[in-house]
């Protein structure tokens, strides 16, 4: 009997103990972009060791959802692969700050016999996606790739069928390098594609490219690497052919023109080592925080992410913010009020 009673007591103690830690723990909710999800989840996990009193709940429901939820104040922070439009910002009940966290490259991958290393420039990529360049041995392609034997094969253009930050970055780049693209298709998370077939998600596009001889597609760098797919060096605005890597994306970040509200585009950045098809991703937070303790914890986390968390970026093929940008962002974080 004594033993039994003791066991009940122990059980109660454990239950109480657990409930007290649960109530002391603060839950910070976020939702949005899928592209930075791998690094965000790593950050949230690592941060529990830095500050055990905070737990993060992040739903990667897409940038559109992230923007919607921060506007309706159902989350503590939103996340988006594209900056919010003026129209959407005007709907917000308070001032929303854009906090850039990491950046990533979008690469042009292909499926050719032997998969030779290719060099491409903006005009050629736009030509393929506009349906003007139809064959792999087109003079434009052979001129860019002397010494590479390109086959007399149809180019099968593959693009994302779902709305995505990747498409936003890619079409942002094409709109900058081709006026024809800008007028015919333009720039958004999903566009009216002049040609090609649509694959769902990065895995859909990489799958389609891998399965289809003569295909060309665009995916995030990490997907091309994981699937061991070839990707082309792209000519940047300084006239150099650059390979996509975290370093060449950092170079682009360092030379891109970044306004004070951090709603910037870093495609076709002017630096000599800058990879031209890249984009940043943002966390969206209100400048005026409603809940003081939560706001304080959120600020602590943001600072940690930008200074300590950034070091995890490279392993996951993301680019961290260069020092100059980081300082500006940290200053902006200090402007968050409680």
């Amino acid at each position: 009997m004594m033993k039994f009673r003791r066991r009940i007591f122990l059980g109660l103690a454990i239950a109480f103990g657990m409930s007290t830690t649960a109530s002391a723990q603060m839950m910070i909710n976020g939702a949005g972009a899928t592209f930075p999800y791998p690094i965000y989840s790593k950050w949230f996990d690592a941060y529990t060791k830095v500050d055990p009193s905070v737990r993060f709940n992040y739903q990667s429901i897409g940038s559109g959802g992230g923007q919607k939820q921060i506007l309706s104040q159902t989350v503590d922070f939103g996340a988006s692969d594209g900056p919010m439009s003026d129209e959407n910002l005007a709907k917000a009940p308070g001032k929303i700050l854009h906090i850039p966290t990491v950046a990533g490259a979008v690469v042009i991958t292909y499926n050719l016999p032997g998969n030779p290393a290719l060099k491409l420039d903006g005009d050629t990529i736009a030509g393929m996606y506009l349906g003007r360049i139809k064959k792999w041995n087109d003079p434009k392609l052979t001129a860019l790739n002397p010494g590479v034997k390109l086959p007399d094969q149809d180019i099968v253009v593959v693009h994302r069928s779902d709305g995505s930050g990747t498409t936003f970055i890619f079409t942002d780049y094409l709109s900058k390098v081709s006026s024809e693209w800008k007028s015919k298709a333009g720039n958004n998370t999903s566009v009216n594609w002049p040609t090609g077939i649509g694959g769902k998600g990065n895995e859909g596009v990489s799958g389609q490219v891998k399965q289809t001889p003569g295909a060309v597609g665009y995916v995030e760098l990490i997907y091309a690497k994981q699937n061991k797919m070839p990707y082309a060096d792209v000519k940047n605005s300084a006239g150099e052919f650059v390979k996509a890597s975290p370093d060449s994306v950092i170079a682009a970040l360092a030379t891109a023109e970044i306004p004070d509200d951090f709603r910037f585009s870093m495609t076709n950045a002017p630096g000599k080592d800058a990879y031209p098809i890249a984009g940043a991703t943002w966390l969206l937070v209100y400048q005026q925080q409603k809940d003081a303790t939560k706001g304080k914890k959120l600020i602590e986390f943001l600072k940690w992410a930008l200074t300590k968390g950034e070091t995890m970026a490279k392993d996951l093929d993301y680019a961290s913010l260069p020092e100059s940008v980081e300082q500006r962002v940290l200053k902006r974080i200090d402007e968050i009020k409680m």
Binding site: S85, N188, I197
Partner: protein
Amino acid sequence: MPAITFQDADAIRAVQSRMSPPSRFGDKAFEWLTLAMASAVVVLAILIGWELWVGSSLAIKKFGFHFLTTSTWDPVAEQFGALPFIYGTLVSSAIALIIAVPLGIATAAYLTELAPLWIRQPLVSLIEMLAAIPSVILGLWGVFVMVPWLRDYPFPFLKRYFGWIPLFNGPIYGPCMFAGGIIIAIMILPIITSISREILRSVPNLQREAAYALGATRWEATRIAVLSYAKKGLFGAVILGLGRALGETLAVTMVIGNTPQIVASLFKPGYTLASVLANEFTEATSDIYLQALFEIGLVLFGITILVNLLSQLLLRTIRATSATRAVQ
């Protein structure tokens, strides 16, 4: 057990007299409960329709009837027309039915009429297992196995011998309307087969015996006494399959190519209403874009209801004709 004696009967009567008179409360409660459940379903359908209508009111106002008749889907210029999606949904479902209906009903007929007993149960379990495969798995299998195979063997064959029909003309990429239809066919095959099987099994044996008594062959007995008798129910099975086909999303999205266009060739990529919703809903940020997607949902909802109404009508005419035949 001893028989009930008079004494016992008296005792029972005594107990009965002390009981309250038989109450109708349980019956009433049961009636109300089932009524509430049934109306909940109706209310749910109405609420879904209402929500879709409200969610797309801006788009309906802006595009009007043109939404259903134009083909441009341009989120950048914010011009939206649903025609290619409607076309893709109907065509891919039609392909699926053309493949799955004969296959499903023939399988059901084999299982109930012809197959040796020991093979029936394993076959049935296998078919039902097909229904349990998650659609995303089917989609992945479609992308990595089915589409490359179709592209390398059956499609070139069709193109070589039937290329003079516009349906089988044009370049072969792999992901296309045809592949979308085939994957839907695979997905609706189990439902058509198992419902058809249940219906054929419920055909009274008297029917078969009568046919055999009149000297019918097995084929004649199956055709006249069983299939013809079960016509109505089989039609219902097909309609249930069609309902699923119209709304099938993920697997189709992965193999159909996702290009909003209306072309004769089945080798060209297409797009369905459900696919565009799955693809673009999460990243749509502007109001009118979201509203247009809501309207796509409304159109899909409308098409499903329309198809169901039409099938009810068709069912009624079948019933009417068979009734007159019976009179004759």
